[in-house]
Symmetry: C2
Subunit: 296 residues, 2 copies
Amino acid sequence: MSAKKIKVGLVQHACTDDPDANLAASIAGIQQAADQGTQLVLLQELHRSSYFCQTEDTANFDLAEPVPGPTTRRLGELAAELRLVIIASLFEKRSAGLYHNTAVVLDVDGSIAGCYRKMHIPDDPGYHEKFYFTPGDLGFQPVTTSLGKLGVLVCWDQWYPEAARLMALAGAELLLYPTAIGWDSSDTADEQARQREAWVTVQRGHAISNCLPVLACNRIGHEADFSGQTGGIQFWGSSCVIGAQGEVLAQAATDQAETLLAELDLGRTEQLRRTWPFLRDRRIDAYQGLLDRFRD
Amino acid sequence: MSAKKIKVGLVQHACTDDPDANLAASIAGIQQAADQGTQLVLLQELHRSSYFCQTEDTANFDLAEPVPGPTTRRLGELAAELRLVIIASLFEKRSAGLYHNTAVVLDVDGSIAGCYRKMHIPDDPGYHEKFYFTPGDLGFQPVTTSLGKLGVLVCWDQWYPEAARLMALAGAELLLYPTAIGWDSSDTADEQARQREAWVTVQRGHAISNCLPVLACNRIGHEADFSGQTGGIQFWGSSCVIGAQGEVLAQAATDQAETLLAELDLGRTEQLRRTWPFLRDRRIDAYQGLLDRFRD
């Protein structure tokens, strides 16, 4: 089996209320990664703005933009200039009153290779995403790029093995998750540690059961909850690159801006699937219940 | 939410070619667990015999027995005597020429509460299970016992998030895996470490994505491959009890017989599912592809 090595980069940083400054931070990270020969850069979820979903405020829809739009244009130019693939999570305005949490894939020629619209939408104290984002209607389809088929998913999708499996079955060679997740200060230190560990571990699980590398890029910093409902979110960073056997190849700190770099061998997937051929033995005759809400 | 605490035990030991001695080792472990107040005991996969699937030999069908049969009778008596639930993995003879890898659940009154017939059957050098075991036809149905609904699965099922999810959707309160897995001496130490780590991690992933505790009971010891195809299997033990947040609560050694005990609070599942309500947001409208062999 032939090796297929690619260098990947993840840009982890804090966000402010100034979208231009946030975009500049993402661009600086992309350039830093490019200087090291990186071929693919994953940005964090909604990297252009603070995590506005802590409150339900119609004014925040002003942060949305069309796809294609100003940010995809700017990042497309950058992708073409630096000859790399960029995965950029954006607040997409599809129409008046219709918005998505969308990840756009820009190929090395600057074109939009494809999009993924977040399918699983959370809604919890501090994460009022059902107010802002209509659930995706593009399904679980990898985006074909010059580097291969990318299984782009977003944040809450991380907890769903169904999403990872559907991408793997559609030929994804890599799973990628832009993310915005952090701690609630009202939780104990033990609980906080378990939550962060669970977040890494469930993604390692997706890597293992599909024999695919996984990239997750999360933000850092504390952002206040202006509704006063919670004490705000302390985003836990910890962006990571996970190998196809579930091994953590690289991981960023919980509190430092970082451009995390790693090299992956996409050829490893076939090697692993020959040794542990999970796809061979799936009992598709007995999986009907996965389409039920509950089997009661 | 009310706590629902149960004490569980896992009996990890080496097996010989003497089924009576193996059963005696399992029984000794069950009694040891009972002495500590354990209410549920999980035995390792095919605990009555050596792992005969290393070779394809029709003589090994002599190891199979009916269910109910002599071993379920003996363990049923023990369950009633000690007032605990026993999950016993057996080589089931269903008819001449029809055999399964079956886990039988014996309730505290000694009755057979139900069975699970291994659904995903591996077949790899050292693990020729497709020769011996017809894939299960009971589906993914938890077994209802006096302690709750048990999501009993077996070994190779461990790698399939579909199996864990189906059990969770059918109301399982606990996932349990009798197991026989180990190292091939031809692999490097690094590879061996990654494999064992992947085995624990993928199960932690099932715990996390379903907010359910997971028990896995594996054997220890080296067993030779009489076909000479491989250097045999060094079973890696490492039986473990995993909490509903994916935390490892207890883990046995790789090379020591051990009766591993832990206390679980089954009430934790509802608490976790309120905080991270994964079941609420499943996109059952978009999961059809999970029933496909490959989405090509």
